[in-house]
Structure formats: structure tokens, C-alpha cells
């Protein structure tokens, strides 16, 4: 569909927020909590942490919660009864203030959740989300979206993408999808037809840091490299990188039984944990941290493009910002790209 471009004035943004609320939409937006910014349900426009480069946790939880209750069961004299996931319980959600590196991540997650098996719960959740993306006017040294095919004004994955047009605080609104039109239709009066606008002039500068093609080619020959040890020696083996990542989709299934009743959950999991690949026999094919760091990078930059035709990294830089040991994925990628393999 053609992109419909409009201008929305600074003051009208709050009115749009209120109209969405009045239309019974549940809004998730970046909200400050302790010293961090996370996506949270909010009814209060003033609470939105506008202008932050990036939320500390990605928006993937909207469709892929850290803990998803898949089913409940109970046993009685009559047998076993199972109550499956009820998609009727999923609310209509508006995701407000998402950065393009997160909206792109939705596509990467969707590729995984629809690879062979079509994941009904994930798809159901996503079908009820309207994504209001906000372009980036600021970036930091951890950002590298342009190195993985993205850009700070990327429309992919947004239903409407807002771009702040300089200091007057007005926004360009690119209405991109049917869901975007539905939001637009609720508040037509606040949008004005846009003239010629050079959006690029208002976007953050994010330099390209490595060549993706060279990186992927090198990775094919890099598997046995001794460099993985040097690249990962300081890794502590926690799951921060995977859990803040907009594209990491690994999960674990856990059952909880309480007497004759119980539930089954899908929980986030991380390839950085030693337990992730531990076999029942006691053998662990990824026995040391360097093998786990290798897996993280190979999966995102080699296996995913091979099998799903998408990369597993959006260049948001969250993993590096959040790492307690200052493991920096960009440094690893650059050094692999520069390696003579």
C-alpha cells in the first residue's frame, strides 16, 4: 500500500494518546522505572519517557512474554481435563514509542515463530498489536542498525511511524498499514496533509560499522577459530543479552504441579546458560562459555540468514549496553569481519 504522509502537531500527540485510551486500547509505552526505561502499560501520557535512545528491555514481550501460560490441567476421578490457551483473553494493544530496531525485530521473531510450526499464541498476540514506531533522532556508540540493513527511520514493522521534525516538536506520521489507518481514522482531525519533507535530515546519524556480507562469509570459516575464547573470556554466562534482545526467541517449557492441578509455561531461555544444552547423560555439547558466545553470533549472523532469510540482530545495541561484563557484540562482529580466514 502507498505510504500516506501526514503532519501531527506536538500538542496533538497527547490528544491522539487520549483518543486511543478512550477507544479502550491498552497502551504500552516506554516508562521510567528506577533508573531504567521499560515498556509498561500506561494511561498517562506524561509518564512516557520520550526522547530516550532506547528502552532497556525490548518490546518483544508484547507478543512473546517472558512467561506464557500455555495450558492448565486438573485430574479427577473422571479423568484429566486440559484447558488450553484462550486467545480471547488477549487485549488489543497499542505499542507506543517503539524504535525502528525493535519494529524490525518483530519481523525477525515472526520468522522464527512461523518457520515450520505456526505458533498460534505468538501470532494471535501479534495480530492484536498496533505498532506506533518513533524514528531515532539520537544514537550512541552502541547503535549499529545501519550495519544490519536497518536505519533510524526504518518503516518496517510499524503501522504508523512518527518522525520528530526538529526542535518545533511536530511529527511526520507515515501511515503504513491497515492497522495504521484504523488509528488514523480515530483521530483524522489531528493529522494534516504533509508536503515535501526530507525525513532523512531529522534522523540520527548511525555510521555503518561492518560489512554484513563479508562478516557472513567469514563466519562460515570461523567456527573452529581460537579467537572465540579471547572474544568471550570475560562473559559471565548470564542471560541479559538474550533477554533484552528484540530478536532472541529461545524458550524453555516448564511444568508446575500443585497436587492434582498444574500449569505449563513457556519461559525465555538463553544460549549463554550452561544448562541450555546440557544433556540428560551429563554431556554438554557447549561445554564452555566461548562455545556459547560462538552460538549466539553464529545463530544471528549465519544460521538465521541461511534458514530464514533474515538476520537475528537489529543493531539496537541493547545487549552491549546491558552486559554486566561489558561484552560488546559490535566489537566481536568487527573483529570477525576483519579476520583473515
Amino acid at each position: 500500500m502507498n505510504i500516506d504522509k501526514h503532519i501531527i502537531r506536538k500538542d496533538s500527540l497527547e490528544k491522539l494518546f487520549d483518543i486511543l485510551r478512550q477507544n479502550s486500547k491498552t497502551i504500552y509505552a516506554p516508562v521510567s522505572r528506577n533508573s531504567k526505561v521499560i515498556f509498561r502499560k500506561t494511561d498517562n501520557f506524561a509518564e512516557i519517557a520520550a526522547g530516550c535512545i532506547q528502552t532497556d528491555i525490548s518490546s518483544k514481550e508484547i507478543a512473546f512474554p517472558r512467561t506464557e501460560r500455555l495450558l492448565d490441567y486438573s485430574r479427577s476421578a473422571d479423568g484429566i481435563s486440559v484447558k488450553g490457551f484462550d486467545s480471547g483473553d488477549i487485549p488489543e494493544i497499542v505499542l507506543w514509542g517503539v524504535r525502528p530496531c525493535d519494529t524490525v525485530g518483530i519481523g525477525e521473531l515472526s520468522a522464527i515463530f512461523n518457520w515450520d510450526y505456526k505458533d498460534g499464541i505468538y501470532n494471535n498476540r501479534l495480530s492484536k498489536v498496533t505498532v506506533l514506531g518513533f524514528s531515532c533522532s539520537k544514537a550512541d556508540e552502541y547503535c549499529f542498525c545501519t550495519s544490519v540493513g536497518g536505519n533510524p527511520g526504518n518503516t518496517a514493522g510499524s503501522d504508523i511511524l512518527f518522525t520528530r521534525l526538529g526542535d518545533n516538536g511536530d511529527f511526520l506520521a507515515e501511515v503504513l498499514t491497515e492497522k495504521g489507518i484504523a488509528v488514523f481514522a480515530l483521530a483524522t482531525g489531528f493529522f494534516e496533509k504533509a508536503g515535501e519533507i526530507k525525513k532523512e535530515e531529522f534522523l540520527a546519524e548511525v555510521p555503518v560499522r561492518f560489512n554484513l556480507e563479508v562478516l557472513s562469509n567469514n563466519l562460515e570459516k570461523f567456527f573452529e577459530s581460537g579467537q572465540w575464547v579471547d572474544l568471550s573470556l570475560k562473559c559471565l554466562g548470564c542471560g541479559v543479552c538474550a533477554y533484552v534482545c528484540p530478536a532472541c526467541a529461545c524458550f524453555d517449557i516448564q511444568d508446575e504441579a500443585h497436587g492434582r492441578k498444574g500449569s505449563r509455561f513457556r519461559c525465555w531461555d538463553s544460549c549463554a546458560f550452561s544448562l541450555f544444552t546440557l544433556h540428560t547423560s551429563g554431556h554438554n555439547p557447549r561445554d564452555v562459555q566461548s562455545q556459547r558466545w560462538r552460538q549466539r553470533i553464529m545463530h544471528k549472523f549465519s544460521y538465521m540468514p541461511d534458514r530464514l532469510s533474515v538476520y537475528g540482530c537489529t543493531g539496537c545495541g541493547r545487549c552491549s549496553r546491558a552486559c554486566p561484563a561489558d561484552m560488546n557484540i559490535l566489537e566481536s562482529l568487527i573483529s570477525i569481519q576483519e579476520a583473515n580466514v
Partner: protein
Amino acid sequence: MDDLRKRAKELLETSAVKVVIGYEDGSGGKTRTLFAEKPEDAARLIFDSRCVMNLAAYVTKREIKEKGRMAIAATLPVMRSIIQLASEFQVSNDNLLVLGITPESKLLEFTDLSEVEKFVHQYQIEIEARNKEMLEKLEKMTPAGRWKFWTDELSPCIKCYACRAACPMCYCSRCTVDFNQPQWIPVPSHQLGNLEWHFMRAVHLTGRCIDCNACFNACPLAIPLNLLTKKMIEDVKANFGGYQPTLTGEHLMSTYKPDDKENFIQ
């Protein structure tokens, strides 16, 4: 910290140690861990007020231990951790040399861990005034208020276990939370799962935590989980006397004494 660089270089040149664990400049104005293995690596060592990560978390890691004898640039919290780890038979004079950094940033070299212990015992573990105030505030709350405080604070926990990974005392090769047959702690990061995880961790650290704040610093959500271990430190101090890691292995909470008060049972 020229002294540190010089000493690290010597130790590597003479093969007195195979690796020196210290700090170097990292990304975004942060510092990170340096594993200096060649004499020339020592030039990258730095020490300043940003160097707060507890490097003792690395001395129990297999990949590091396998390199051979280690030296570690150790601030007071790191030295405390090392004494506790030594008392739990995780490190010894054979595999670890401590390059102490005093609170005045002066380099000290210890010939063995008993000297480190002596140095460490000159300083009491004191909880920061701000956190002490917070603990008192929590103490004054009603049980319902405290319950709300903790359920609110712990609700965003994503169970990434960065707190565990950054903690030198969390070196178990298999943590209680990783067991699923039987499952001791609910794995999902729902309310009960999060509460049980953090309470279990605090209890396992009781009498062992040396209050370095590594868990809090590692948390991607800035959850004040260190208040739990701080509370345990205060309780141990109040009920069981002093609070210092010791090489003799007299662990405050896991050594049975016939004259223990056991007031909590009454």
C-alpha cells in the same frame, strides 16, 4: 597505577603467574575485565573509581582457572570475596596471588592469603547510610506494605540471572534454580517464581555475602535486590556477632554451636 602495571608485567615475564586479572578501559566510558596473559598486556591495566565490578567472580570460572596460577587486582570487596572463597576451598595460595589495592588506591602485595585476611580484618563491613535508611524504612512497614514493596520491585525481574553470574559467591556448578527433577524453585518469572528466586539467593548468601553490590550493579532493571542480602548482614551481625570472612572456615551460618541462641524457633 603504574605500580600495578609494573608488578603485573614482572609476574608475567617471570611466569610467576599465567594470567593477571584486572581492569581495562571498556565501552561507553565503562571499565571491563582484562585477562593479561602476555607481559605487554599489562600496559592496558587501569585502576580508578569506575572499577567496581567484583573480579573475584572470575577466579572460580573453569576457563580462567585452567590457564594456570592467577594474580588478581583486588580492591577491599574483592579481597573479602577471595577470603570467603578460600574458606570454601575454591581458591588457595597455590592458584591465586592477590595484588591488593587499598581504599587509598595504594598497591599491596601479599605473600599469602593469611596476610590478605589480616588486611581485610582491619575494615568492618558497613552498609551504606542510604541503604541502611532504606532497610529501616522497610522494617517499619506493615507486613502488607513490605509485601507490596517486594512484589512491586521484583515484578519486572526477567530471571536473566545476571545477579547470580556477577556474584563471586554464586559459583555452584548447578544452581538450585536449575533443577527441574524435582523442581525446587519455580522457573517462570511470575510473582512466586521471582520471589522464591530472590529469597532463596539471599538465604544462600547469608553469612557469606560480603556486600560488594555486584548483584545490584549487574541487574539490567536496577532492582534493589541487594537490600535482601544487606538485611541478612544486619540480622547476622545482630544475632550471631561479628561479620567477617575468615580463612579458618568458621562459617557463621553453617557451623553448629551448642550455645547458639535459636531464638527464632521459640
